[in-house]
């Protein structure tokens, strides 16, 4: 089943084209990677999918809901994490999770059961009852992830979610992402760290300067480029784009 269907999606800010006619799809059971350097258009694409931005042209649907025609339905089925997301400093992790569960119409019993599940999966422990202002980066990101999945969304969108995490927190995150691979679910994992994509993504789209360079599985990308790892393959692929050679030289 197609969980993500993007057709010719374009976003222009004034004279700057942040996303230029991207077309791709992703399916249930996948961890779908979105790769590219800073400024490639990854965040813009994910914000369009999260209904935070309005496309200049093109269409996108998430779990069958059109982002422009039914944004509220889209927001009900997605969970979003990005590297810059924070938490209210004076609330505890548990209070944050309960507050968001309420926005999804979950009862207190459902919420508490779900929090217990997430506590186990993300190793939240005492973090849950400490005010967010006292969290380390890793603790904060774990609670941010728990908040994004409190309602068990069909589509999980992670945008540079490992940014600033130490090795332990990053491992927990990658294990968590790998475990989201399930029927009826899709995880979109955006990163510029190629090794992370190699580890957790089933298929990946490479974006460069707002344009889609390729969408494929890791073995296919490596085979097509003849490179031994994704980072080398990435550079090989963008050499074929208008500014790719220059980017490679830099």
């Amino acid at each position: 089943m197609t969980m993500l269907d993007i057709q010719n999606l374009t976003k222009i800010y004034g004279k700057h084209t942040a996303l230029a006619g991207v077309t791709l799809s992703a399916h249930e059971g996948e961890v779908f990677g979105l790769l590219g350097p800073n400024g490639a258009g990854k965040t813009t694409l994910l914000r369009l999918l999260a209904t935070l931005l309005t496309p200049t042209s093109g269409t996108a649907s998430v779990a069958g809901h059109d982002v422009q025609r039914d944004p509220e339905a889209v927001r009900r089925v997605i969970g979003v994490v990005n590297g810059g997301m924070g938490l209210p400093a004076r609330l505890t992790g548990r209070e944050v999770l309960r507050s968001f569960a309420g926005l999804y119409g979950m009862t207190r019993a459902q919420t508490d059961t779900r929090i217990a599940e997430l506590d186990e999966r993300l190793e939240l422990g005492r973090t849950l009852d400490v005010r967010a202002g006292e969290y380390s980066t890793g603790m904060r990101q774990k609670v941010v992830i728990a908040r994004a999945v409190i309602h068990d969304p069909a589509v999980l969108i992670l945008d540079e979610a490992s940014s600033g995490l130490d090795i332990f927190a990053r491992r927990t995150l990658l294990d968590f992402v790998a475990a989201t691979r399930a029927p009826g679910r899709l995880t979109v994992y955006s990163t510029h760290v190629m090794s992370e994509a190699e580890e957790v993504c089933d298929r990946m789209a490479i974006l460069h300067e707002g344009a889609l360079v390729t969408v494929d599985t890791l073995p296919q990308i490596l085979s097509r480029t003849g490179e031994r790892n994704l980072e080398r393959a990435f550079f090989a692929l963008i050499r074929g784009t208008p500014n790719g050679a220059q980017a490679h030289a830099l």
Partner: protein, 425 residues
């Protein structure tokens, strides 16, 4: 596809959830709690009771103190004696001390150096009985100083007036005339203002200023934290990707901000009422000057049920309006600090009209003035405090505030939907 109408409908449960989240964050902040609850509770009694008490004691102390007054040249003996004489109550206690006269060379220098508090200089001999011509007595003192006005200068002025009266009366008596010959008609002032207005005091115009200022202070912390603060922390984005509608986000934040502002306003009203009660107890044992000053500062405020209702209604609508202004403005800011620079000038929008209120007696208070958002509330609060409020004026003031709040909430709703505003960081 959902209709436009349903996507705009506000769901009260969602609005409340957004509000609770912001309220919880506010309640956990000690500084905000201090500003919302403690400051109004402490500052108002301090202002309406403590300050007048202090001034009263200061003025009373000046009466009891024996100031040094310099003299250049000579003064009539009777005037010297009158200046130095203590005024006493029948039981012998001194009610007003006289002054100590001391010779000085240079009047101006002596005052400026602080050697004496005033200097008397008679360029020519002063008359010792009425009808012997007139004389001029120069009194050197720091005339802008309250200490001089209530101390040495005031005493000299009163004593010279009494001396003049004595000379005149002596002369009238010598001519076989009675003392009231000079004042065939005497004025007896009778305060015809309503009892509540009498109790509210001459500085009652400060009450709207204080109330609205506390509403602004109470609202500011929550509004800024719930908008620019959320952007800065990266928590707004997570709220906007949840199923909450933009209108619900705005309404929830408006509700949280208004409730905090109202809490502050309620505690300011409690502060006023508590001051009124304490003032009555204190006045049993305080001097007349303290009582007058406490009265002037509005320390005897008391409200009936209707007045309290009018005050509450006006405060709620003003809190809504101020909250809407704050939210509509601060959502544009990239950070809490930037938002503070946007909203700080708002206090002028309260202070300037509130200061104008002291001239409200000169204004023809037509309905149009009550229809000015915020200023109308100030007039309505002042009328309520003075007991001259009318239902129609209160309703106009409330309606004007609500209309303003509604329009600003629409503007805020629009801003929350604009990419360039939400991601302006």
């Amino acid at each position: 596809m959902p209709s436009k109408r349903s996507s705009e409908t506000l769901r009260p449960a969602m609005v409340w959830r957004v509000a609770v989240r912001d309220l919880l964050a506010t309640l956990r902040d000690r500084r905000t709690l201090m500003g919302t609850i403690l400051i109004p509770l402490l500052l108002i009694p301090l202002f309406t009771l403590g300050l007048p008490q202090l001034l009263g004691q200061f003025v009373g102390g000046q009466q009891q103190e024996r100031q040094k007054v310099g003299v250049v040249g000579t003064l009539p003996g009777a005037l010297r004696a009158a200046l130095e004489r203590d005024e006493k109550a029948p039981d012998g206690t001194v009610t007003r001390a006289g002054v100590t006269l001391t010779p000085v060379q240079d009047a101006r220098t002596a005052v400026q150096n602080g050697d004496v508090e005033a200097v008397l200089r008679a360029p020519a001999a002063l008359p010792t009985r009425a009808g012997d011509g007139t004389g001029t007595l120069e009194v050197y003192a720091k005339l802008g100083s309250l200490r001089a006005q209530t101390g040495a200068y005031g005493k000299v002025q009163d004593t010279v007036e009494a001396y003049n009266r004595t000379l005149t009366l002596d002369r009238l008596t010598a001519l076989g005339l009675k003392a009231d010959t000079l004042t065939p008609i005497q004025i007896k002032p009778v305060d015809a203002s309503p009892p509540q207005q009498q109790r509210s005091g001459q500085l009652a115009f400060l009450i709207p200023l204080l109330m609205l200022n506390f509403i602004l202070t109470g609202a500011m912390a929550t509004a800024l934290d719930a908008t620019a603060g959320e952007k800065e922390r990266g928590t707004l984005e997570s709220l906007l990707v949840s199923p909450v509608r933009r209108g619900e986000v705005v309404a929830g934040k408006l509700l949280a901000t208004t409730l905090t502002a109202l809490t502050s306003a309620c505690f300011s009203v409690v502060g006023f009422l508590a001051s009124g009660l304490v003032a009555r107890l204190l006045q049993r044992g305080q001097s007349a000057s303290s009582t007058e000053l406490t009265q002037a500062f509005g320390g005897q405020l008391s409200l009936g049920f209707g007045s309290a209702l009018a005050l509450i209604g006006t405060a709620i609508s003003a809190a809504l309006l101020i909250s809407a202004v704050l939210i509509a403005l601060s959502i544009y800011a990239r950070s809490y600090k930037e938002a503070q620079t946007y909203v700080t000038p708002l206090s002028l929008a309260i202070v300037i009209p509130a200061v104008l209120l002291q001239f409200s007696d000169f204004l023809t208070l037509g309905a149009a003035l009550y229809a000015i958002p915020l200023f109308g509330s100030m007039l309505a609060i002042l009328d309520t405090v003075r007991g001259t409020v009318t239902v129609s004026h209160v309703l106009i003031a409330i309606a004007a505030n609500l209309l303003g709040a509604f329009l600003l909430a629409l503007l805020a709703r629009r801003s929350f939907g604009r990419e360039e505003v939400i991601f302006r960081n």
